[in-house]
C-alpha cells in the first residue's frame, strides 16, 4: 500500500486545513481527507501557512524557507509615501496650531491614487498637508519644481517650474489615469 503525500496538499490551504483545525467537526470529503491526513499522518502546515500562524505553540517565530521567500519583501517607496499621506487622516482641525482645516479625506484618497500610478522610474515626490486641508505632492530637484494639490473633487491644481518655464492650471483627475499634461511636464 502506498500513501500519497504531497507538498502541494497544503495548498488546499485554509479550506481543507482550516477544517482540520476547526473547533468543531466538519465533514471532509473522503478523497480530500485521504490527502490531508493520509494514514493518520499529520500534514505539515508550515510551507503555506504564514510563519506566525505556524508557530501556534511558540511565542517566538522563525521564518521557514518557504515563507521567508514570501514575507521578507521590502516596502516600496510608493507604499512609504502612501503611508505618510494616510497618516494625515489622523489629524484634526488646527493641526498646525494656526487654524488649519481638518485634512480632507477625499483629497487624501486622490493623492494616494496618484502615487499608485506614478511611473516607477521617476523620483518619488514628498507629501505635504496644506492649511486648506488638502493634500499635495511636490518635487524639487534637478531643475524641476512641481507641486500638485488634490482638491478633493476630482481636480488637481498644479504649478510646475522646469528649465525656466512656468506652468500652472487646474485639470481633472479620475484616479486611474495620469493626466497627459503632467506626463509631459514632469515625466510622471
Amino acid at each position: 500500500m502506498n500513501t500519497f503525500v504531497t507538498a502541494s496538499t497544503v495548498a488546499k490551504v485554509l479550506l481543507a486545513l482550516s477544517v482540520t483545525q476547526a473547533p468543531t467537526v466538519a465533514h471532509i470529503n473522503d478523497p480530500l481527507l485521504q490527502q490531508v491526513r493520509p494514514n493518520n499522518r499529520n500534514t505539515s502546515r508550515t510551507m503555506f501557512v504564514p510563519t506566525s500562524v505556524a508557530s501556534a505553540t511558540s511565542a517566538t517565530t522563525v521564518a521557514n524557507d518557504y515563507s521567508y521567500e514570501f514575507i521578507n519583501r521590502t516596502t516600496t517607496p510608493q507604499e512609504n509615501i502612501i503611508g505618510e499621506i494616510r497618516q494625515f487622516n489622523l489629524l484634526d482641525a488646527n493641526w498646525d496650531g494656526e487654524g488649519a482645516f481638518k485634512p480632507k479625506s477625499t483629497s487624501i484618497k486622490e493623492a494616494v491614487s496618484f502615487v499608485r500610478i506614478l511611473d516607477d522610474k521617476i523620483a518619488i515626490p514628498d507629501p505635504m498637508l496644506l492649511a486648506s486641508g488638502n493634500t499635495a505632492l511636490y518635487w524639487n530637484e534637478g531643475g524641476l519644481y512641481a507641486d500638485i494639490e488634490f482638491l478633493g473633487d476630482g481636480r488637481i491644481a498644479y504649478f510646475i517650474k522646469s528649465n525656466g518655464d512656468k506652468h500652472k492650471g487646474i485639470l481633472t483627475f479620475d484616479s486611474e489615469k495620469m493626466p497627459a499634461v503632467l506626463q509631459t511636464l514632469i515625466g510622471v
Binding site: L14, P23, N29, T75, N89, K109, V112
Partner: protein, 274 residues
Amino acid sequence: MPDTTNQNGQFNPLHAAHAIEQVMLTLQFDQPVDNAIFGRVREAAGQFRQELPGEAEIHGLTFPFGPDVRPPINSGISFRRAEPDGTVGQELRVDRTSLSFITTRYTRWNEFWTQASRYFNVLAPIYAGHARLAGVGCTYVDKFVWSGNTVNCRPALLLRGDSKYICPHVFTADDLWHSYTGAFIRVDRNTKRLLNVNVDHTDELRLGETRRIVAITTVLSDQLNQAGYDPCTVTPDTVTDFINTRIQALHVFSKVVFGNIINDTMSRRIALIE
C-alpha cells in the same frame, strides 16, 4: 493624538500604507481530477507563463507500506513571479483538487481580484466539469510592527479592546500571547462559512533581527455541499460567476471582521475606514 501612538513607541502597518503581508484565494474541489483532465488544466495554465514566469513542478512523495511501490507522483505545478528583491510576489498553484493564488504585492482589491479572476476563470471551469466545487477561501495576513522599546509595547494600542474575536485576558497579559478563535456561520442554505481569526503577539526573526509584531490572520472559507446543508450545484458554465460572487462576499466580510479587531485609529491609518 492617535491612540496607536504614545511617547514610548507605536505600532506601524507592515508596509506603511497597509498592513497586508499576504493574501490568498483558494478554490477547493471535492475530488482529484484524473490525468487527462489535469493535463488540460496544466495546458490552460501555461498561458500565464509570461506574467508568472517562475515555473515549478509540485512533486508528491510516496511512503511505501507494502510491496506495491509506485513512482513519485507529479501532483501539480506552480507559476511564480519573483520580485527584484528576490522575494516571491505572486504565485498561482494548480493541483489536482485545488487552485490557489497568493500575493505579497497587494495594493487594491480590484487589481488583485482582476488578476486572480483571470486565472480562475480559465481554470475553474475545467475542474467544474469533473468535480464538485467544495469550497472557496480567502485568507489575509496582516502584520503590525512595534516601533520602540518592547517593554512599552501594548497591543491595546492597536487592537479593539472589546473585540469579540480576541480573548479578553490578552489585554492584561505581561508577556507575548496567541489568541485563536473560530466559528462556523450559516450564511445561507448552501453555505457553511468557517471563520478563523488568529492573532499572534510575538517576536519575529527577520533578516537576522528580532522585531515585535502583532500578526492577524483572517481565514474565511465557504464550504459547500456540507452535511445539514442543501446541495450546491455549480457547472462549468456557472462556476466563474459563482466564484466571483463568493469571493467578493468573502472580501467584504473579511473587512468587517478586521475592522472589529483593530481600533478606529489604525483603521483610518490604513484606510479601512475614512
